[in-house]
């Protein structure tokens, strides 16, 4: 086991609040010297799409419909009391008002800190997502064995 402190996060959720937790933990850990890996799968892939608003991303009709409804980082719903998308707007307002980093600022900080971002090969296949649909900071497209290998010896979270 190496001496490097390591945090690996499985980013499953596409919810605004859970993604905020993912990026808060990830940036916080990276800033204090942790090696950080985030493995985005299923709804979490929404956070790392190039097109951040609602757009029919995906190959094929059904994936496109999913892509359109899932939205993207900018239209991520909150996990409770979403109020048809009003709550994320309120959260963003409250975060700015209280000088707390918004989700978008946390994502930018994650990129600057060189956090390792990975995408799940299987989920991408189901949702018809290509690597070119994802932000260029995505280091690699992985499967479970490689992610487990990467996260070995550190702490792992599922969010």
């Amino acid at each position: 086991m190496s001496d490097t402190k390591k945090l690996s996060i499985i980013g499953f959720s596409g919810d605004f609040d859970k993604l905020t937790a993912v990026f808060t933990l990830a940036t916080g850990a990276a800033a204090i010297g942790y090696e950080v890996n985030i493995f985005f799968t299923f709804w979490g892939l929404d956070a790392i799409k190039v097109k951040q608003g609602r757009s029919p991303v995906g190959k094929g009709f059904l994936p496109k419909v999913f892509g359109l409804f899932m939205g993207g980082l900018k239209s991520a719903p909150v996990s409770r009391l979403n109020f048809l998308g009003l709550s994320p707007k309120i959260f963003r307002y409250l975060m700015r008002k209280n000088n707390v980093a918004t989700l978008e600022e946390l994502v930018e900080a994650a990129k600057e800190l060189g956090i390792n971002i990975y995408a799940c090969e299987m989920a991408m296949h189901i949702l018809g997502i290509q690597k070119s649909d994802l932000i260029h900071e995505v280091k690699d497209v992985l499967g479970v064995p490689t992610f487990l290998q990467l996260s070995e010896g550190g702490q792992t979270l599922f969010i």
């Binding site: 808060t24 980093a101 800190l113």
Partner: protein
């Protein structure tokens, strides 16, 4: 050796040390970053994690403003 300033007194976790780390990563070896912080988590964490990551904490001084401290860190 150049001197740089950063004010994180209005920021909250994790941006207090995220902004400090990003700023430090942009400096050249020997440069000094003066960071204004509030008491509590940033004051405890920024010197500790800076030292852990090989930066040198030159001084920690309380400013004239109550509860605001200046941490001087050399890369």
């Amino acid at each position: 050796m150049a001197k740089f300033n950063l004010d994180v007194t209005k920021d909250h976790c994790p941006m207090t040390f995220v902004r400090t780390k990003i700023q430090l990563s942009k400096l050249a070896p020997g440069d000094v970053l003066d960071v204004l912080v509030t008491e509590g988590e940033p004051l405890e964490n920024i010197p500790r994690s800076s030292t852990e990551q090989g930066f040198k904490v030159l001084s920690i001084t309380e400013t004239e403003q109550k509860g605001i401290h200046l941490i001087s860190i050399q890369k």
